[in-house]
C-alpha cells in the first residue's frame, strides 16, 4: 500500500468507517492471532485476546500517531493485552532471563551435551512441531521477540518500537532468545539443519 492510500485509510479509520476497520481486520487477522498464540500458548485465550485487541484498536485509533509505523502500533496494542493476561493469570518471568543463560556457555560445552550426529537424526523428523514446542518453552520476553523477527519479519528497530525498549535491549533479547531456543533444541536432541 502506498503512502497516499495509507493516509486515506487512516483518515477513514479515524472517522470510524466500519469498512476500513473490516479491511485492516482482514489484512492483519492471522498475523495478530499468530503473535497472540505464541505469547499466551493457548488458542482459546488467544482468540479472546484477539477480539479484545481489535476492540481496543477501534477505541484507541484516535490516539494513534501517524508518524509511527501502524503495524508496530497494532502489535503493541496486542502485546499490552497479552502481557496483562500473562501477569494476571500466568505470572511467568516477563522481565528477567531464566537461570542457565547460554550466554556464558561455550559452543563446545553446548555441543558436548548433545552431539551433532544425534541432533541430525532427530532433525529428520518432527521438525516444525519440535521447533514450535521449543519456542513455546521460552519465556514470553524471548518468544515475542523471535516471533516478531522471524514470523512477522519486523526489523529490529520496529521490534524495539513494539516492545518500547532501546534498540540494544531488543538486540540482546533476540540474541538470548535464539540462544535459549537452540539450547532447548539441543537438550531435546533436535538441533541441526532446518532448510
Amino acid at each position: 500500500m502506498g503512502p497516499q492510500a495509507a493516509d486515506t485509510e487512516l483518515a477513514r479509520l479515524r472517522r470510524g468507517d466500519p469498512e476500513a476497520f473490516e479491511q485492516i481486520l482482514g489484512r492483519y487477522q492471522h498475523r495478530v492471532f499468530r503473535y497472540l498464540v505464541r505469547m499466551v500458548r493457548d488458542r482459546a485465550q488467544a482468540e479472546d485476546l484477539f477480539q479484545q485487541t481489535w476492540l481496543r484498536v477501534t477505541q484507541k485509533i484516535g490516539q494513534y500517531d501517524p508518524r509511527r509505523n501502524f503495524e508496530a502500533w497494532l502489535f503493541s496494542v496486542a502485546r499490552n493485552l497479552a502481557i496483562d493476561y500473562l501477569r494476571r493469570y500466568k505470572p511467568e518471568s516477563l522481565d528477567e532471563p531464566p537461570p542457565g543463560d547460554p550466554e556464558g556457555q561455550t559452543r563446545e560445552a553446548r555441543l558436548a551435551a548433545g552431539g551433532p550426529s544425534a541432533l541430525d537424526r532427530v532433525l529428520a523428523r518432527e521438525r516444525s512441531e519440535r521447533l514450535e514446542a521449543s519456542l513455546a518453552e521460552l519465556p514470553p520476553m524471548y518468544r515475542e521477540v523471535l516471533t516478531l523477527r522471524f514470523e512477522e519479519e519486523m526489523k529490529i528497530e520496529e521490534i524495539a518500537n513494539v516492545l518500547e525498549v532501546p534498540l540494544s535491549t531488543a538486540k540482546t533479547r533476540l540474541r538470548r532468545g535464539m540462544g535459549h531456543l537452540r539450547q532447548i533444541l539441543e537438550s531435546t536432541g533436535a538441533q541441526g539443519i532446518w532448510a
Binding site: E47, F50, Q51, L131, L135, E151, R175, M178, R182, W194
Partner: protein, 159 residues
C-alpha cells in the same frame, strides 16, 4: 585471530543470522568470517534455525472468531458514533426548548389575558410571569428526563 576476537564475533553471529546487525557490526563479522571456518559453520546453523522459525505453520483465525470480532467492532463503532452525536443533539434540543419557551410565552399571555395585555405597563409582572412559566416548563422537562434515564438504566442492567 585472538580468542577474544573470536568470542566477540560469536556474540554477533546469531544476530547476523537474524539480519539484525548494523553496518559496522556486519563489516566486523564479514572480516572475521574471511578466515574463521568455525564461525562460518556456526552462522549456517543459526541461519538454519531462522529458516525453521520462518517456516512454522501460522495458526489461523476461524471464520467464526473473525465474524464475531467484526460484529463487535461494528457495534462499538456505532456506539462511539452515537456518543459523539449525543452532546450535539442535546445542545440543539436545549436551544430549541429555550426558543420555543420564549416564543410561546407571548402567545400564552395573549390567549389568557387578551391582545391588549402587552400594552400593560407592569413590566415586573410580565417578567415574573415569564420566569414562572419557564421554571414550570423546565421542571416538568427535568422530571421527564430523570424518569427516562432511570428507565434506560434499568433496561441496560437487564439487557
Amino acid at each position: 585471530m585472538g580468542v577474544n576476537e573470536h568470542d566477540a564475533m560469536r556474540e554477533l553471529i546469531a544476530l547476523a543470522a537474524a539480519d539484525a546487525l548494523d553496518e559496522r557490526e556486519q563489516a566486523l563479522l564479514a572480516e572475521h568470517l574471511r578466515h574463521c571456518q568455525a564461525c562460518i559453520a556456526e552462522l549456517d546453523e543459526w541461519r538454519a534455525l531462522g529458516r525453521g522459525l520462518r517456516r512454522l505453520p501460522t495458526p489461523q483465525v476461524t471464520p467464526q472468531v473473525f465474524e464475531r470480532t467484526r460484529q463487535q467492532m461494528e457495534l462499538q463503532l456505532a456506539t462511539a458514533k452515537e456518543n459523539r452525536l449525543n452532546p450535539w443533539l442535546f445542545g440543539t434540543l436545549v436551544l430549541l426548548s429555550w426558543t420555543l419557551t420564549a416564543a410561546s410565552w407571548p402567545v400564552l399571555r395573549i390567549l389568557t389575558q387578551g391582545a391588549t395585555s402587552w400594552m400593560a405597563t407592569d413590566i415586573r409582572g410580565i417578567w415574573t410571569g415569564l420566569l414562572g412559566y419557564m421554571v414550570a416548563g423546565w421542571a416538568i422537562g427535568g422530571v421527564m428526563v430523570i424518569a427516562l434515564a432511570v428507565k434506560r438504566a434499568g433496561t441496560g442492567r437487564t439487557a
